[in-house]
Structures are given as structure tokens and as C-alpha cells.
């Protein structure tokens, strides 16, 4: 069973999975290795990172030096994203407000593996506090599960995908069991500077966790730990792990990885799932709605086959939506029937409510001590090496801060590959040209530091998505309309981050690039810009106040599960991907168990 077209699909499957990214990939992996017959619908085209990744292409080999354009957004030409971005031709979304600060930027990716192909690979566990935020400060919602429920799955996912890092022992920043994490990469100049000077300001700087193999995976032992008693799964997973090479310390992970050294759904989750013979993948299949039978159970998914323009149906005993939280909300709201006039699983009226992104703020400076350093290679693991977990829990608890939740600090490199834009800052070189300019360029290159905050947004009544009453996409499907509002918690947090960064830069003897923002609105990135969209179909304790139960299972439709970020009741500063995978694996185990008992 392989990548197929609609006409080759089976009459019925055990499970249909919508989406092929972190949630869909993990779900397909878990189910197919346990013998369930699955079909996966992916709205974009098939994609093979081994053949398609531009690993060593240089800026001078790309149009416009690889600079970002409306065709290739964000990281530009070499960004692994295909047919995606904050805008996708023919697939609009709308904003309820004309005010910029009340708008949401929605990143979609239409390709096998979805957003996992280009993400930053930052893989942080939620801590115990992060599952019970309401109990701690009275804001937002508690999860109906705790850290102890998810911990075994965090460990399994880390072993499967391969995560480098070190245990820091810091508050609410869980350690992994011994032997699970791969060795952390060495600190780069900017990392070690921030670590040394951060110490004086009480800011801890430690090894970050990222899904990149800093050494080959232990294919002889890990599979047995992941799949005890399942020899076939062990063999398939071992074979897949042996296909993955360790990082060769070159090129950025946002391009994807042809040697499979980093995690992408397409290189880690899907190969063993396909090798099991239990997975069909239908690319170019744009899911429109979940089909529901007369008994109220989901019977399959209605989708547009983009290769023919026709509507097609695929039948299954269980439906899993993992289409990205925004797209999952949209499918539910579009699954209208006489029985479900407001969309599926929406008796509570809460589908679409409480959408969240991460708070983003970034700030840079110039450090004279870093000028004219001897040239050296610091490409490293193709992303961050060090970071600062949120460190002011005690101050927050004591009421010393004017915001309720934390942020972590991502520390950028100082010697990135030039190209796609000028590496020269006009304000430093002023009117220089000729040999003088070249000397100045060399002097200043490597002397700029940059810090990014990724913080927790508290869910609020004013941030949600519903269906636009008028606008449809090119397939004739109603589109999402976003409503967005930050609260002072997020604004104040972003300001705090900027002040912290300015203090750190000053402590390092440097000068901030600009004055600290005067307002939170100036400091905060627009909603959706961090691409950590979660929420919209929250899990909770009871059917009246939530959409899903603690198993990512919708209260109203027992055989419908949501396995992307949509069920998240909160969005900790920890980037959501690792938690999406851990919960998908946990839900997959539950589906297997309930299927065996005949409950689904």
C-alpha cells in the first residue's frame, strides 16, 4: 500500500487520517504498526525530501539570491514549504476586523508532511504547570490530563524522532530519562557569550532540545523499547532508523534534510508506516467535511480530488482530523447536516473558540567584542543550540510581574550564511565603498546578536475563528474568518522580553539595534506570525464546556478524534509540535485499545 490516487482507494478503512504532519504522521505510524488499515488524505502534493531538498544550493544559484517573495514566503526560496505560506493562492481566509492588531496570519502548507518539513525542530516538553495553568493563576483552562499522563509519550516520541539536548533540571522544564536525549551540540560564540553574561543577570542559558540527530540512532535497541512485543513494528522501525544519517553540520534545517538527519513526518513517521503495508496516502485530497451516518457516527470524509476537481468520499470506521488546528476547525464547521446545523461536534458551540498563537518578540544588538573575529564555521546543527527556558516562576508567583505566563528565549547564531539580502548594515558602514566597505563588512559580520521570545498566550473570548458567511475558496468551500485580540498579559510579556534582551546586550558591552518598544503592541509579533496556532476545539472535563475529552475524542462523535493542536486548552511557551506528537501517539494507543474492545 503506497501513495495512491482516489480511484485506487479501498472500499473501507479502519481509520481515515486527514493531514500528514506531526499529528497525522504520528497517528499513521502508531496505528499502522499495530495492524490498523489507514488512509491518509493530504491536501498538497506528494513530497520526497530525499530527492527534493536543496541541501547545498547557494544563494547565487537561486532567483533573487533566495530572498523571500510572495511565492516562497518566510525563509525564502529554499524554505521547504511548497504551495504554502501566510497566503495560499485560491485559498483565502478573512479577517473580522480591519485593524491590523486584530488580524491573524494563518500559515498553511500544502505538501506531504505539512509544516514539519520546514519547522525549527525545537522540541520542548510541556512541564507539569503547563497542564494546570488555571489552577495556578486562575486564568485560562486546565487540561483534563497532567504531565504524568503524557510523560511516557514524550519519552517515546523523543526516542523515535531523535532529539538532542541536555537535562537542565530547571523549574517546570522536564528532564528526559537518562539515555533518551542525543548529545547537545557545542555552544557557538553567541551562545557562550549569552550564557556567560546571562549569569550576571540571573538568566540561565542551557542546551536547547531539537529534533536533529547529532549521532546515529541506536536502531538495535530503541525499537524494542518503543514497541515491546511487536516484532514486526520493531523491524520496520529499525530499518527506517538505519536509513537516517547523523547531522553533517551544514545547511539550515528549514530547507528540509535529504539525509533524514532531522525530523520531518516524511522521513521519520511515514516510511515505517508505508512499509507496514497498512497505509494508503492520497495526496492532492482537500478534505471538505466529515460524513456522518444516521446513527450519528462518522462514516468517512468527503474531499475534493484536486487532480480531477471531483468530490470523492472515503469510508472508515474511525476519523482522525490532524489538518492543523485552523483547518480542523474549518472541516468541523463545514460538516453541517440537519442533525448538526452548526457543524460537527459543536453542540457546545465551542468549535473555533479560544484559538492561540505564541507571543513573539525579537530584538538584536551589536557587540564590539565580536568584531573582526577569526573566520570559523558555526553552521552547527542547522538551528539553535542554546536557549533560556522561562526562569521567573517565583517572581511571577510572588506577583512581581505584570503578566501571568512565561516565555523562553531562542538564541540565534552570529555567522549565518550571507545571501538573499545585504549582510551590511548601512548605519554601521555609512558611506563606505570600495576596499573600505569590504573591510567594514568583514569587521561587522559576526558581531550582531539576535534574540527571539516565544511566550504563552492565554486563551481569550475575542480570539477565535468562524466561517465567513460569504467567502469561499476555489473549491467552493466556505473559508475561515479570524477574530483576534491580545490581552495585556501578552503585551506586557513582549515588553518584558525586549527589556530583558536590551539588558543582556548592554551587559555584553553591546548596543541594542533600536530603543526598547514603548508599547506592547509595538513589541509583539502579529498573531499567527509565530506559526504556533493551537486551540479551537479544546479538550476539557465536560461536554458542555469543551469539544474533546482527555483522549482527543470529540464528546459528541465517539469515533472522531482531533490530533493536531486544536484540542490544546493552553499554549505553553514550549513550541507545540512535540506535544502534538505525544498526544497523537497516546490517542493512537487509545484507538487501538477501544477498537479491540469493539467500542468504536
Amino acid at each position: 500500500m503506497p501513495i495512491i490516487t482516489s480511484s485506487k482507494s479501498q472500499p473501507e478503512y479502519d481509520v481515515v487520517i486527514v493531514g500528514s504532519g506531526a499529528g497525522g504522521g504520528q497517528m499513521a505510524y502508531t496505528l499502522t504498526l499495530n495492524g490498523l488499515k489507514c488512509v491518509m488524505l493530504e491536501a498538497g502534493r506528494n513530497y520526497d525530501p530525499v530527492k527534493e531538498t536543496p541541501m547545498f544550493q547557494r544563494p547565487d544559484q537561486a532567483p533573487l539570491g533566495g530572498a523571500a517573495t510572495p511565492d516562497k514566503q518566510f525563509f525564502g526560496y529554499f524554505d521547504a514549504t511548497i504551495d504554502g505560506g501566510w497566503e495560499v493562492p485560491g485559498e483565502p481566509y478573512t479577517q473580522a476586523s480591519e485593524k491590523k492588531e486584530e488580524q491573524f496570519w494563518w500559515w498553511r502548507t500544502r505538501m506531504l508532511g505539512g509544516r514539519t518539513n520546514h519547522w525549527g525542530r525545537i522540541s520542548l516538553r510541556n512541564g507539569p504547570y503547563d497542564f494546570k495553568p488555571h489552577s495556578r493563576d486562575g486564568l485560562g483552562f486546565d487540561w483534563p490530563i497532567g504531565y504524568e499522563d503524557v510523560e511516557p509519550y514524550y519519552t517515546k516520541v523523543e526516542m523515535l524522532i531523535g532529539v538532542y539536548g541536555a537535562n537542565s533540571g530547571l523549574e517546570n522544564t522536564p528532564d528526559s530519562p537518562d539515555g533518551v536525549l542525543l548529545p547537545p551540540p557545542k555552544g557557538r560564540v553567541g551562545d557562550l557569550m549569552a550564557q556567560k553574561h546571562g549569569r550576571k543577570l540571573g538568566i540561565p542559558v542551557v542546551s536547547i532540545h531539537r529534533a536533529v540527530l547529532t549521532k546515529a540512532q541506536d536502531a538495535d535497541n530503541i525499537p524494542a523499547k518503543l514497541h515491546p512485543g511487536n516484532e514486526r513494528a520493531q523491524r520496520l522501525v529499525a530499518e527506517s532508523m538505519r536509513q537516517r544519517a547523523a547531522c553533517f553540520w551544514a545547511t539550515s534545517c528549514v530547507r528540509g534534510c535529504s539525509i533524514r538527519a532531522n525530523y520531518q513526518s516524511t522521513t521519520v513517521h511515514l516510511p515505517p508506516a508505508l512499509a507496514s503495508g497498512n497505509l494508503d496516502i492520497i495526496p492532492n485530497a482537500h478534505a471538505r467535511e466529515v460524513i456522518v451516518g444516521e446513527d450519528g457516527r462518522a462514516t468517512g470524509v468527503l474531499y475534493i480530488d484536486k487532480t480531477t476537481g471531483k468530490e470523492e468520499r472515503v469510508k472508515a470506521k474511525v476519523v482522525v482530523l490532524a489538518a492543523s488546528s485552523g483547518e480542523t476547525i474549518r472541516i468541523l464547521l463545514n460538516s453541517k447536516s440537519a442533525r448538526h446545523p452548526h457543524g460537527l461536534a459543536n453542540g457546545s458551540g465551542l468549535v473555533g473558540k479560544y484559538t492561540m498563537d505564541s507571543v513573539g518578540a525579537s530584538f538584536g544588538g551589536q557587540i564590539p567584542a565580536l568584531e573582526n573575529l577569526p573566520a570559523h564555521n558555526e553552521e552547527g546543527a542547522g538551528g539553535d543550540h542554546f536557549y533560556t527556558p522561562w526562569w521567573l516562576y517565583k517572581e511571577q508567583k510572588a506577583g512581581k510581574l505584570d503578566f501571568a505566563r512565561g516565555y523562553h528565549i531562542e538564541i540565534g547564531g552570529t555567522r549565518p550564511m550571507p545571501g538573499g539580502g545585504s549582510p551590511i548594515r548601512d548605519s554601521f558602514v555609512k558611506g563606505a565603498y570600495g576596499t573600505k566597505l569590504k573591510e567594514e563588512a568583514r569587521r561587522y559580520y559576526g558581531s550582531f546578536v539576535n534574540y527571539a521570545a516565544r511566550g504563552e498566550m492565554i486563551p481569550n473570548e475575542n480570539s477565535f475563528a468562524d466561517l465567513d458567511p460569504v467567502v469561499k475558496d476555489k473549491f467552493g468551500i466556505p473559508v475561515l474568518r479570524w477574530h483576534w485580540r491580545w490581552s495585556d498579559h501578552e503585551f506586557n510579556q513582549a515588553l518584558h522580553a525586549e527589556k530583558t534582551f536590551a539588558a543582556l546586550i548592554t551587559e555584553m558591552g553591546g548596543t541594542p539595534n533600536r530603543p526598547v518598544a514603548k508599547t506592547g503592541l509595538e513589541a509583539i509579533s502579529p498573531g499567527g506570525k509565530i506559526i504556533h496556532e493551537v486551540g479551537g476545539a479544546l479538550m476539557g472535563f465536560d461536554a458542555k464546556k469543551s469539544v474533546c475529552n482527555s483522549w482527543n475524542q470529540t464528546w459528541e462523535v465517539k469515533n472522531l478524534f482531533l490530533c493536531d493542536g486544536a484540542p490544546f486548552p493552553s499554549n505553553a511557551d514550549k513550541n507545540p509540535t512535540l506535544t502534538i506528537m505525544a498526544l497523537a501517539w497516546r490517542t493512537g494507543d487509545y484507538i487501538i485499545e477501544q477498537s479491540r474492545k469493539g467500542n468504536l
Partner: protein, 207 residues
């Protein structure tokens, strides 16, 4: 299976949607460029995707100015050896909003450059001596210091310099010139060399 031909109503709705999308924060319209799914493994040369703009005179002026900004010296080759003017031509010829916005600045600036060279020295810019090049460039190289008469030319110069730098430093010779080392596979990553750590008084904390 039923087909989903778009109805007239849906087509209208789509244009409404396109209009709504055009009110989004950025990337207002998506023009025709290399598309959202280019072959990333193909090696690209300026002119491959969209036609270039420069006339022979513009190309001459652009090449000469880029070589004044990035001459051949002990740090690296001249801009002309790294096809910097081709990159700038590709840039201003691109169908995207940002590049379309920069296009008139560059084209008008190059025309001004030749006109100014003729006015002062009765030759095109490319035919001037180094001294004559410097005489003009010194007047326009930094907007904050430029006389009002040169204000517009100074804006052009800074923009042209930025494009030249983007092109120059996106090449292996440019990497060498600026001090970037990378894009080569390594068996291990050892962090900054000892001399760098010592210079900064740092210690490698990941053993």
C-alpha cells in the same frame, strides 16, 4: 461521483475572496513569478524565470558602479567577476511588489549616473577614471551627508549598494571576503576554535 464544477455564484464568491485576501496585511497581490512549487534542486541563472531589463548602457553603468563599490583587491574579486549586475538586473525585473517598487529607483539612478558623468566629464560613467568615479560617488555615497541636489542620487546609491552586497556576498568568493565558512559537510562540530574562545574570554561549556 458528482463533479464540482464551480457555479457562477461560487466564482463570484471567489473573486470576493480574492478581494478580501488583498486586504490582508501583506503580500497584497500574488504576481506571476517562479510559482509556489519551483524545482529547488535546479541551479538558477538570472534570466531563467523572467526576462531581464537592462539596456546595454544600463548594464555598463551598473557593472561600473558595482565595481567601484566592490573592486578587485586583497579581500576578493571585483563585483563584475561575480556577476553582480546580472543579479541586480534580475532583481529589478522580478514581478513581485517589493522588487517592482525598487525598479524605478535603480533605473532612474543609473540614468542619472551617466547624465552626471556627461555633465562633469563629458563621458559615460563606465568610461571615467577611478578618480572621476570617486568624485561622483563621494557626493552621493551617504544620504545624511549628501547635498540636497544629490539627495535622490544618494538614496539610489545606498539601495544599489545593498543589492550589490546581497549579490556579492551570496557567492563563495563573497563568503571568503566576509568571513563566512560553511556549506560543507563535517564529521563533527567542534564549536568556536580555541583562539576565538581565548580572544573573548569564553569557555566551551558543552563538553
Amino acid at each position: 461521483m458528482e463533479t464540482t464544477r464551480l457555479t457562477r455564484r461560487e466564482v463570484l464568491a471567489f473573486f470576493t475572496a480574492a478581494l478580501a485576501a488583498s486586504q490582508l496585511p501583506a503580500f497584497a497581490q500574488v504576481p506571476k513569478g517562479y510559482g509556489t512549487d519551483p524545482d529547488l534542486t535546479k541551479l538558477h541563472t538570472p534570466g531563467d524565470v523572467w526576462p531581464l531589463t537592462f539596456s546595454a548602457a544600463e548594464k555598463k553603468a551598473a557593472t561600473a558602479l558595482a565595481d567601484v563599490i566592490f573592486p578587485a583587491d586583497h579581500i576578493g574579486p571585483a563585483a563584475s567577476a561575480l556577476r553582480v549586475s546580472d543579479y541586480i538586473d534580475e532583481w529589478i525585473s522580478a514581478p513581485y511588489p517589493q522588487q517592482q517598487g525598487e525598479r524605478p529607483v535603480i533605473l532612474e539612478g543609473l540614468a542619472w549616473l551617466d547624465a552626471e558623468a556627461q555633465r562633469r566629464f563629458t563621458k559615460d560613467f563606465a568610461a571615467l577614471t577611478s578618480e572621476q568615479h570617486r568624485a561622483i560617488c563621494d557626493d552621493i555615497c551617504w544620504p545624511a551627508d549628501a547635498k540636497p541636489a544629490f539627495a535622490k542620487a544618494a538614496q539610489f546609491f545606498v539601495q544599489f549598494r545593498a543589492l550589490s552586497a546581497a549579490a556579492y556576498y551570496g557567492t563563495p568568493d563573497g563568503w571568503k571576503a566576509i568571513g563566512f565558512i560553511g556549506n560543507i559537510p563535517l564529521p563533527t562540530f567542534d564549536g568556536p576554535p580555541k583562539e576565538v574562545l581565548e580572544k573573548l574570554g569564553l569557555e566551551q561549556t558543552v563538553k
